[in-house]
Symmetry: D2
Subunit: 160 residues, 4 copies
């Protein structure tokens, strides 16, 4: 499938996460993988690893944009690892690569990504995350993925 045909959806969240957030993230990943979307994330642990596992086990592509210089920091379900060496500036690259964003829980790094996403006009679906004007709080991974895929398709259609 050419790069332009699949929607790219970022799943953002912290490396320290609650069991509920991890279960949500894995479900989001699985649904994205089943839908043929490319999942973009920070490539590390916690929410990132759970989402990666869900997507990879569903046969999806998982791009891990890593803060450091080495691929070995990636969790084991990342299928394409990008060691940016940019530290937290890689948060901005995750958002740039994504047509839509799903936030699950999250700490300050996630907040920076939410803010950059809203500034860049991306939709953000939130599951138990920061309550920021512009974030669309949803009730389930299914609702998050349905809305994110719809937003990604709209964006792709506008650009295409």
């Amino acid at each position: 499938m050419p790069a332009g045909a699949a929607p790219y959806v970022a799943v953002i969240g912290a490396s320290q996460a609650t069991p509920r957030d991890l279960a949500d993230a894995e479900a989001v990943g699985r649904l994205l993988g089943e839908a043929g979307a490319v999942l973009v994330c920070g490539g590390r642990g916690g929410v990132m690893a759970a989402a990666s596992r869900g997507a990879a086990q569903a046969g999806g592509t998982v791009v891990g944009m890593l803060p450091g210089d080495g691929r070995d920091d990636a969790n084991e379900w990342v299928t394409v690892a990008i060691p940016t060496g940019l530290g937290e500036l890689r948060n901005g690259l995750i958002i740039r690569s994504a047509d839509a964003v799903v936030a699950v829980g999250g700490a300050y790094g996630t907040l920076s990504e939410i803010a950059l996403a809203l500034q860049a006009g991306r939709t953000v679906q939130g599951l138990h995350t920061w309550e920021i004007a512009g974030v669309d709080a949803v009730g389930s991974p299914q609702a998050a993925v349905a809305a994110a895929l719809a937003a990604a398709r709209r964006r792709t259609a506008e650009q295409g």
Copy 2:
């Protein structure tokens, strides 16, 4: 004065700002300039221009980290313009360069900077800005600058 001797303080805020925010930003800039601090900002208009004007008129150094490729986007009070060409990823460079941060008003870009600052362990003094856990809401430009300079000196001492 060598680079290591002066504190670097970021003033962050939006290019669209209220009269109150502009007055606050100019006062913050003036107080930083009078204190011999290097003011780091995004180099554009609104809060950034007001802070730059305050600092420059007090004889201070104003670093403008611009999102685009050209210096001519800088406001006229920037004394050192850095055209990063990084778009909004330059927000992260502003935070990296700063020992402490003062936020005045602000939209999503400012929120991303607040989040990156808190993640990186910088103090954030806030004047009528986002109410995020970790931001120290202060009542005046004087209080903001006093706290920011104290935090910057602590940070410099720890690193020195």
Copy 3:
């Protein structure tokens, strides 16, 4: 296959290229795809498109690190497009992502990538490219890919 298991090889070269360079690039891409390597490139035309086509037609993964903000700049054989928005600074990300580098022809952008690769300790196999100390001039796409894969495996083993 987990990200850590495949070698990542960058193929660098210009968007304006001679027929010989295009044929070499396509052969390099095909051999990398057949070997199960991840091909990393700048995602645009010329040498980048030829290498991408060779790798994609062999069933390989092709990462296109684009200078602009949109995925639609990617050539049609890129399988994972990363719109970095970094302009030519994305050259450095290509090198960071790669275990080894193959240069085919090339202009100044390619020269910057060769220099960054040699500085970072990556091997550079060269086919009709800049004659810089440290570049290993090889006589065929087969020789380039064999040497690049060997270097990539050495690097992965050292880091693993």
Copy 4:
């Protein structure tokens, strides 16, 4: 002086340098400082430190774009230190900030900067540096600075 009024000239070269290169770099820095130009460099030792010292002792502004996260890596003559945390990708920021470039000696990092400068349409004056098509080999620091300042003024006039 507003940021737009002074020419910005990058002086590039290695941290390990010969006595001749260090003397050349210091003379280049001094002449730039005397001319009121802003000197942009990598902020570290060797050629960078020599150029910084020359410029600072002539009363000039010296911007040091550092690869790491801390200002304390800057040499003592840097007047504005920017800790980019970008590693060698900061080479590209040095070039973006500069209207013209002077290369003194240099290793692979310098070669990457020369290549990025030529790609971006900047003039490069070279003193005992890489012999790359497009580099203007000059015979003295005086000739290098005269040509760089003339090129910087042409560029500023075209953009102004």
